[in-house]
């Protein structure tokens, strides 16, 4: 096998349900335990878990349903979160720290500080976001394995 060729080693997908606050964080916890089993560097797991938790809570707060796909590759751990939801009309605005459309209910639960997306970007090495208003949002982010 040629060194440096990126190869998909493991993949698994998970469903996150909108408004399911009771199970908030469950998918990120499951992803975390898989990465621990695989012996991924704890610091990378930590960064990715922070990103996953934010992404998961975003789905719970704003979307109907989403699929989170974990891909463990030779060079990186990649996450794709594709939701069915209201979409984001102005991505640039949504990426600004502190910008939030959270309802008082979400804020009462300790969320909605407007740091979710910026936090995902901060804790990953690659980040991209696509959104179609009225249809949904797809987030792609990854941490690079050293």
């Amino acid at each position: 096998m040629t060194a440096g060729v990126d190869e998909l080693l493991y993949t698994e997908s998970f469903t996150i349900h909108g408004n399911d606050y009771d199970r908030g964080g469950e998918v990120s916890a499951r992803v975390k335990s898989i990465l621990k089993e695989l012996g991924i560097d704890p610091l990378l797991i930590r960064r990715l878990s922070i990103a996953n938790f934010e992404a998961e809570m975003n789905v719970i707060m704003y979307a109907q349903e989403a699929t989170l796909v974990l891909e463990v590759r030779t060079d990186a751990v990649c996450i794709t979160v594709a939701d069915r939801g209201q979409g984001i009309p102005d991505i640039e605005l949504a990426m600004q720290p502190g910008y939030s459309t959270a309802t008082p209910e979400m804020r009462a639960r300790g969320f909605g500080a407007g740091l979710g997306l910026p936090n995902i970007k901060k804790n990953s090495d690659r980040f991209s976001i696509e959104s179609k208003p009225g249809a949904g949002t797809t987030l792609r982010y990854a941490v690079v394995l050293s």
Partner: protein, 428 residues
């Protein structure tokens, strides 16, 4: 290499292999093989859940024995604050301490004032440190071990302050050997413990090369002797008082109750601890300064080695606090000056002891993970634990790690049996 010490001993004669303990173990450290339970010392966090659940009392804590006292020229009992809560509402800590001197110890020493000082030291530490947040208390030794094994990336969250019992033992050994012209090793300092976790923190300390304590006796083992002494009308000659803020450390919430910082949380019991630690790992709860967490549901009063029912014990403590009345606080300046002298500081870094990954590298780990998933697909997902592992996923992992065979699962064996007999039926 010698097996890592842990505090739980399974009595092979009494154990019937019922799997209760394997199922309740939070780190899945117990397996039942050939109808006997055994503990994997690399995974055991000394929480004592197995001791609590065992209906045959086959799982026990390894405590000191009376013969151990004979090795020393002067013996000291350091009672856990929980001991004060064991004898109803009307018995004072001074009477309990006096009783300890009647049952075989030369001296006793109360650690409640040390606990009060530690609350001050924690406040001072929190005001001067820069995160990561929230900081987590090291008071419960099981919590520290859980973090080393299951949450290694939370090690930086632990407050690097030594426990009250170790600090007290360190001071006492020095003081008593000087006063009585003894060598430090002639003084034997023994903790009267509510739990198995503290026993192992003495045998295999964390953040310390060697414990300043020489052993521990279980509260439930010394209880009958103390009770008898109290009934004989033992009254203390001294009226030396305990700290009303310190004594609350025997129960969950007591540590933060004595702190100035109010941006704090108490987490009780293993289920909640795992839930909260998962959230901290995900970056949640960063706005909280300090978390006091216990493996036992109500803190030390609910340890496995106590006698008094835990709600009654908390009432007893509140009653003692009420009787103590108003007290001057330990001077903040004194605490800060001890802190500057590094008096409270742990002596060694706390290191991670993460669970062994499945393979030597990522590729091998992934291959093993696939094997586990393939085996798991053949298992019934009933988590019946009849195979000896606590659940099907753990059994699948044991098979891949080479510690078990897949047909130890009764359902797999049933399938095999049916597959073997089915064709014969067809030919008859």
């Amino acid at each position: 290499m010698l097996a890592r010490p842990h505090s739980v001993m399974i009595d092979g004669g009494a154990c019937i292999g019922c799997v209760d303990c394997a199922k309740v173990c939070p780190t899945r450290a117990i397996r039942v093989r050939s109808s006997k339970a055994s503990v994997n010392p690399d995974l055991c966090i000394d929480c004592g859940s197995c001791i609590r659940v065992c209906r045959l009392r086959a799982a026990n804590a390894v405590t000191s024995s009376p013969e151990d006292l004979a090795r020393f020229r002067h013996t000291v009992a350091l009672p856990s604050l929980t001991l004060y809560a064991q004898f109803g509402r009307d018995v004072d800590p001074a009477q309990v301490n006096h009783a300890l001197t009647q049952i075989g110890f030369d001296t006793t020493y109360d650690i409640s004032w040390m606990c009060e000082m530690l609350a001050g030291a924690t406040d001072a530490y929190l005001s001067e440190c820069n995160g990561p947040w929230p900081k987590i208390s090291v008071t419960c030794p099981s919590i520290v071990r859980l973090i080393q094994i299951r949450y290694p990336d939370l090690i930086d969250h632990l407050v690097p302050i030594e426990s009250a019992r170790e600090l007290a033992a360190k001071l006492l050994r020095k003081k008593l050997s000087a006063e009585r012209g003894l060598r430090p090793e002639d003084v034997g300092v023994f903790f009267i413990t509510p739990c198995s976790a503290i026993i192992n923190s003495i045998r295999d300390p964390v953040g310390l090369d060697q414990s300043y304590l020489d052993g521990a006796f279980a509260i439930r083992d010394v209880y009958p002797m103390i009770l008898r002494t109290l009934k004989d009308g033992a009254t203390s000659e001294t009226s030396e008082s305990v700290s009303r803020r310190g004594i609350l450390w025997a129960m969950a919430g007591g540590e933060i109750a004595g702190m100035r910082n109010r941006n704090t949380i108490t987490v009780r019991g293993v289920t909640d601890v795992l839930h909260v630690f998962d959230h901290i790992e995900a970056g949640d709860l960063q706005a909280v300064d300090f978390i006091e967490a216990y493996i036992c549901p109500d803190g030390c009063v609910s340890g496995q080695l106590v006698v008094e029912e835990r709600y009654a014990a908390q009432r007893n403590l509140q009653e003692i606090v009420k009787r103590l009345g108003a007290q001057p606080e330990v001077s903040e300046e004194k605490v800060r000056s001890l802190l500057r002298d590094h008096f409270f500081q742990i002596e060694e870094q706390i290191v991670a002891r993460p669970v062994k990954p499945l393979g030597r590298d990522l590729r091998e780990s992934v291959a093993r993970k696939r094997e586990i998933d393939a085996i798991l697909a053949r298992l019934p997902h009933k988590d019946c634990a009849a195979c000896g592992a606590p659940d099907c996923a753990t059994h699948a992992e044991d098979v891949v790690r080479g510690d078990a065979t897949v047909d130890e699962c009764v359902f797999v064996r049933l399938d095999q049996l049916q597959a073997r007999t089915a064709p014969e039926e067809g030919t008859s």
